[in-house]
Symmetry: C2
């Protein structure tokens, strides 16, 4: 469907491209000052289609841009992932950052769930103390104390997330950013066995309409094996209750792969 | 960024949430008939934010909806592909439907390139005569003759597309919908060798900023081999000039895979 606004001297015509393609007209006075001034900027604004207007108005706002950017090589899979999360997560939700790293995902998640009610929670964890220190610093610098309070950080392997999520809590989103800590010790990596257990936990904790988002890095030693494990895990989830898909670059073999597991 | 239109009795105020957040005002006459009539429908239309208006107007129109629908199992890869094409193709472009089938893609492409100038062209081909008959009938039923004229149909294998695209023409989009003709003879399928040659041709004909979109079906005999061929082809394209990615369902092994090759 397509809707355009056209301004003539008598009518504001709203065209809606449907099967019958019949415009409806809104009467408009001849002496209207929008016209009498003939302001080119105003006229351009009005003679544009709403679709074009939307494109001009929200040039970088949406998931559309992230997806097209991904397809055309201008945006990273991580940017696409963040925009997808924004459309899944609602204010007041419970979410998990299973691999805090330097805290950028934790901060993004905080912004998605925080509201005046203070109901939302971000459970963040990492096996490395320095990752938690970095995350905590980033949050302290970036948000006010009332927002900071809804994040709980744990020095914990992601495979043990069930130990810290309170009973009866259902999660809307669990994010994994696998591999090693950027800027940290590259020898410390997530490993297939633990990641597999973490995915099992995430599946048990997930509420209907929730998403597990896994960014898989394949460029480091062990990365390819971990990717295979995740792919096998996702392939084994029942199609009746899970939608599992992946977005992958084909001619950049070291680019991260985005695996998404959506619970119906 | 967020843009809202608010209509007061004197001004049409356009708010654009930017850093300075300063609205600009368009003078509006007090006696304007939009107001004097106090038509609730018209008023609702104007007092809504543009974003809300867009959501109401294009409830299912956007790439965002198609992507989220794909991730959550509510929309097919084919729907996502169509929305992606719409964002790549411009009016007046030259595009190819390399496998017309029953003509639905051909019709969608026609709508994307057709405008008053009549410059755009859709080159459609299929190796099966009945596919071309179906496509031609669909176009005749669906569009006016001036639009119908910009489609050229060829009884031809997709591997021979270079024989019918005029010299000096660069393409914006080439779409492949592989496998067998729905409703036709399932023994007649696209085969890896021909598809590989067709992809090579499409790459040669493609202009910068153009896309090759391949919907690969893996559920029929030979489908998996064809998929491997396409994946190998895409993986071999140089990352400097091509962005090649794929969207794939993991726990629905027979679901089609969308492979996209974008020329930088």
């Amino acid at each position: 469907m397509f809707l355009s606004l056209r301004l003539s001297s008598h009518f504001l015509t709203v065209h809606r491209q449907t099967l019958n393609n019949s415009p409806f007209l809104i009467p408009f006075p001849r002496n209207c000052s929008i016209f009498s001034r003939r302001n080119p900027r105003t006229r351009a604004f009005y003679t544009k289609s709403l679709e074009q207007l939307h494109q001009d108005t929200f040039p970088l706002s949406g998931l559309e841009d992230a997806l097209l950017g991904y397809i055309t090589g201008k945006k990273k899979a991580t940017e696409l992932a963040h925009l997808i999360w924004q459309h899944i997560v609602q204010k007041g939700d419970n979410v998990v950052d299973a691999t805090c790293g330097n805290g950028y995902d934790t901060l993004a998640l905080l912004k998605m769930v925080a509201d005046d009610t203070g109901k939302g929670r971000v459970y963040g964890m990492d096996i490395q103390n320095c990752a938690l220190t970095n995350t905590s610093s980033l949050l302290d610098e970036s948000v006010k104390s009332n927002e900071r309070e809804i994040v709980e950080l744990f020095h914990l392997c992601h495979s043990r997330m069930e130990e810290v999520i309170p009973e009866g809590i259902y999660l809307r989103l669990v994010v994994f950013n696998l591999g090693y800590l950027p800027g940290g010790d590259k020898a410390i990596i997530t490993v297939p066995e633990k990641t597999s257990r973490a995915l099992e936990s995430a599946c048990r904790l997930m509420g209907p309409g929730g998403l597990i988002s896994v960014m898989v890095y394949v460029g480091h030693p062990g990365g390819r094996e971990e990717y295979e494990t995740i792919q096998d895990f996702a392939s084994g989830l029942p199609a009746e209750s899970w939608v599992c898909c992946k977005f992958e670059m084909l001619n950049r073999p070291l680019a991260p792969v985005l695996v998404l597991l959506f619970k119906k």
